[in-house]
């Protein structure tokens, strides 16, 4: 088991190293941030000054070595644009993203799981078709479009909800829905297919033959097993919601990590983009590592095969 964990940790570190390498060089392919920080018409001296200020006049390898050296010390550098440490920026936005992600996730589970169950139990009926339509729309409608429609309807026409920003529970409603719908659709589809699989299994047939009421068969025997893959997916989705709600956070001016990433990309703020991607990567790699370890603890075959 110990060897398994060490091996998994090694893979995780390797993934993070490759991620740092990729994002560091990819972000630099996008162009020169100095040309965005200076006004059109800025002199070469101004541009050179900005390069020097941010260390962009050094060879790429040196820049990367310095970046990794600082990263090892827990320093993600200073934002070019905000001139504030990236850690500080990230953690000032993280609580907002967490809040939005938790609410959106709660919504997606509360809607996705029951509708998935209903669709599976009433397969081929109106409820199944309605659930599939809900999932189809959720997966295919872009979140910015959903967001703008909601703003138009609930803010401009009805005047019920604030258009943007944060501060009150009402500010959460539209972004949480716009973000959560996609995930609710994914959870609905997975719950439906998982439930259909479980409902066709022998032990469920036996439970029914024993004369157990339908609610007990579904709620106690089928759901428990059907929910395992859904909850595993939800865990990963939660991390994604925290880090990549770029469009929703931008449309609703929600001050989260996703918007920070958008700002970083817009201003070619290399340290911000690198920081957000690496910290997001750490979360995803961390969750996967945890899942691997838990699986190995539950199922000895996994660690033995590894």
């Amino acid at each position: 088991m110990k060897q398994y964990i060490v091996k998994r940790c090694g893979y995780s570190l390797l993934s993070l190293f490759l991620l740092s390498l990729t994002i560091f060089f990819f972000v630099r392919v996008t162009g020169d941030p100095a040309t965005l920080l200076a006004e059109p018409g800025a002199s070469e001296a101004d541009i050179a000054k900005i390069h020097h200020q941010f260390g962009l006049d050094r060879p790429l390898v040196v820049q990367y070595a310095l970046f990794m050296f600082k990263l090892a010390q827990g320093d993600l550098g200073q934002s070019f644009y905000y001139q504030t440490p990236v850690f500080e920026l990230y953690f000032s936005r993280l609580p907002n993203s967490l809040l939005l992600a938790v609410v959106a996730m709660t919504f997606s589970l509360l809607v996705g799981i029951p509708s998935g169950i209903l669709a599976a139990v009433r397969v081929g009926t109106f409820w199944d078709s309605a659930g599939k339509l809900f999932a189809l729309l959720g997966l295919s409608l872009p979140s910015f479009f959903v967001g703008l429609l909601m703003i138009l309807f609930f803010t401009v026409y009805l005047g019920w909800l604030p258009s943007s920003g944060s501060g009150t529970p009402l500010h959460l409603v539209m972004p949480a829905f716009a973000l959560g719908w996609y995930f609710a659709a994914a959870h609905m589809r997975l719950t439906r297919s998982s439930m259909l699989e479980v409902l066709g299994s022998e032990y469920i047939k036996l439970a029914r033959l024993k004369g157990l009421p339908q609610a007990l068969v579904i709620g106690k025997h089928a759901l428990k097993n059907a929910l395992i893959p859904v909850l595993t997916l939800a865990g990963i989705n939660l991390v994604l919601m925290i880090n990549v709600a770029v469009v929703v956070e931008t449309v609703f001016a929600w001050p989260g990590v996703g918007r920070l990433l958008y700002e970083g990309v817009s201003f070619r703020d290399f340290p911000v983009v690198q920081g957000v991607v690496i910290l997001g990567g750490c979360m995803i790699v961390g969750v996967n590592l945890l899942v691997d370890i838990v699986y190995a603890l539950i199922d000895p075959r996994i660690r033995l095969e590894a």
């Binding site: 162009g31 020169d32 941030p33 040309t35 965005l36 920080l37 200076a38 006004e39 059109p40 018409g41 800025a42 002199s43 070469e44 001296a45 101004d46 541009i47 000054k49 900005i50 644009y81 905000y82 001139q83 504030t84 920026l89 000032s92 936005r93 703008l148 703003i151 138009l152 803010t155 401009v156 009805l158 005047g159 019920w160 909800l161 604030p162 258009s163 943007s164 920003g165 501060g167 009150t168 529970p169 009402l170 500010h171 931008t250 449309v251 609703f252 001016a253 001050p255 918007r259 920070l260 958008y262 700002e263 817009s266 201003f267 070619r268």
Partner: protein, 529 residues
């Protein structure tokens, strides 16, 4: 006000006839609660507060005048937090501010400023000559090398006076010191030495009309009136600059009175403001002319070498139609590549749209059937303008392919002189005619792909000419030559369009010529607070 509207719309249901069901009441109650709760965040509810929805993320670098890049955007914040010895103000550029007067010696080698008495920083410290000297010496923003090379020393003859001694005669010193850079904006020496540069950005202290309250990067900046302010008492007690990146969301926030001003609303969304009762469009024409540039005009093998072809391109542009379609007619059509609000501007004849004459000129130049002009390169953010102009060019026989490039890549390619054929360029940098000529026209200019010796000669003459009248004459002549040779085919001076809500009395847009943001902030008023 929308909250009360909502309430009044709902009241007939809530107090309605006996036939109303329980569900009706519940719906009405829920809606009422929602509107009430949502209303708490509205700009209108805050006493004396004006909330401005800004389109860009505010950067802490803008809190420190020493780091002013060569762009106009930091002045959005600087006009609130800080003050300068001289700065562009309504009806006067430069206008005396922290300096009550200034003078130059006969030989143009020294400039002396007399400080205004009784001005203070937000922390109560008086503004002193030491602060002026300190602010200049720590300045490291755009053109700081030019400033430092040309200013040999800063003296303080007495606590109320500051003298700048120049290395050589420099007629543009005041332009650079008062508007083209942030060198003339004053910061408190004692406070800065105490808190350091980073501390200053976290809690900036200035001598401007509004003092810093809080800043949440990428979210909002909150400012409060600094009283007494030497110029006038501020009508707005609290200013909130809230970042709302999405244009549609900014408009929705304005329509719902969550914000009082929505900056940068374009095209169809601006039209929506025109049709919304209570909302007003406020266009402000900035210092950013747009033009077509022909990098191959110095190549005898290129069609663009012939000035008739360049003139044909200029005549082909249907400015009025494009202006109406893209900026609702608010941009200023111009026949000059230089901003009309700049010092030493020469007024050219008005722009003409004459496709027939354009075709005739092309035929006379040997292109009766037009020609393939290659690429039309532009900043992708203004590709819509490019498309419209390109259609006009095609209509007279100048066929080109649109090549929109991402903004930074465009300006880098432009400055690196990598473009050919046609370039759609622009500049919003501060300065005067001489600074623009230096960058875009004369030999060695960052964006000059070639040069005309007579213009270089004239430029050198004006650079050492202290007589304002003579200098103006030289710069006028230069502009005339640029116009006659059609080095540029001007399009327009772009209007920056914003939306203003019903609570706003004076929005500040357009008060300072060429400045597209609301300023000076002490002029802003609310109709009902």
């Amino acid at each position: 006000m929308r909250s009360s509207d909502a309430g009044s719309e709902l009241s007939p249901i809530a107090s309605g006839p006996a036939t109303a069901t329980r569900r009706d009441f519940l719906a009405a109650a829920a809606a009422g609660t929602l509107s009430g709760l949502a209303g708490s965040a509205r700009a209108a509810d805050a006493d004396g507060q004006m909330t401005i929805g800004v389109h860009i993320s505010l950067a802490p670098a803008w809190f420190d005048p020493a780091e002013t890049a060569g762009i106009i955007t930091p002045f959005l914040v600087m006009y609130a937090l800080h003050d300068a010895l001289l700065k562009p103000m309504p009806g006067q550029n430069p206008a005396p501010c922290l300096a009550e007067s200034w003078s130059a010696t006969e030989d143009g080698m020294s400039y002396e400023f007399v400080l205004r008495k009784g001005t203070t920083f937000h922390n109560g410290d008086p503004v002193t000559a030491e602060d002026v000297k300190f602010s200049f010496e720590r300045y490291r923003g755009a053109e700081h090398t030019t400033m430092k090379e040309r200013v040999v020393s800063v003296e303080i003859p007495d606590p109320q006076r500051v003298r700048f001694n120049l290395m050589t005669r420099w007629p543009d010193f005041i332009t650079f010191y008062s508007s083209a850079t942030g060198a003339g904006w004053i910061v408190p020496k004692q406070y800065l030495e105490k808190v350091g540069d980073d501390g200053f950005k976290r809690a900036p202290v200035g001598a401007g009309p509004y003092k810093f309250v809080s800043f949440n990067p990428g979210v909002e900046l909150i400012l409060e009136a600094h009283r007494p302010y030497w110029r006038k008492a501020q009508a707005v007690k609290r200013l909130v600059l809230r970042v709302i990146p999405d244009e549609s969301t900014r408009l929705a926030a304005l329509k719902r009175n969550e914000i009082d001003i929505a900056m940068s609303i374009r095209g169809e969304l601006a039209e929506e403001i025109q049709h919304s009762p209570g909302l007003t469009l406020k266009p402000a024409v900035g210092s950013a002319p747009y033009w077509l540039y022909f990098p191959e005009q110095w190549d005898p093998a290129s069609p663009w070498h012939d000035d008739r072809v360049r003139r044909a391109a200029a005549l082909a542009i249907d400015g009025p139609t494009i202006n109406q379609a893209l900026t609702l007619g608010f941009s200023r059509l111009t026949n000059s590549a230089f901003p009309e609000n700049f010092e030493f501007y020469w007024q050219p004849p008005p722009p003409v749209f004459d496709p027939e004459e354009a075709r005739r000129l092309l035929a006379a130049a040997g292109f009766p059937n037009g020609f393939d002009a290659g690429y039309y390169t532009c900043d992708a953010a203004y590709a819509n303008l490019g498309e419209a102009v390109l259609n006009n060019l095609t209509a007279v026989g100048i066929h080109a392919r649109l090549r929109p490039l991402e903004r930074a890549a465009f300006f880098k390619g432009y400055a690196d002189k990598k473009f050919k054929n046609i370039v759609q360029g622009a500049s919003g940098a501060f300065g005067n005619l001489a600074t623009r000529m230096e960058t875009f026209v004369v030999k060695g200019g960052v964006y000059a792909y070639g040069n005309y010796p007579e213009l270089d000669e004239l430029f050198a003459q004006q650079a050492s000419e202290l007589d304002r009248g003579k200098r103006e004459a030289i710069l006028h002549k230069m502009q005339q030559i640029v116009h006659e040779k059609t080095i540029y085919a001007p399009i327009w001076q772009l209007a920056f369009i914003s939306g203003v809500g019903p609570r706003v009395g004076q929005s500040g847009f357009g008060l300072i010529k060429g400045f597209v943001y609301p300023a000076p902030y002490e002029e802003l008023t609310l109709t009902r607070a």
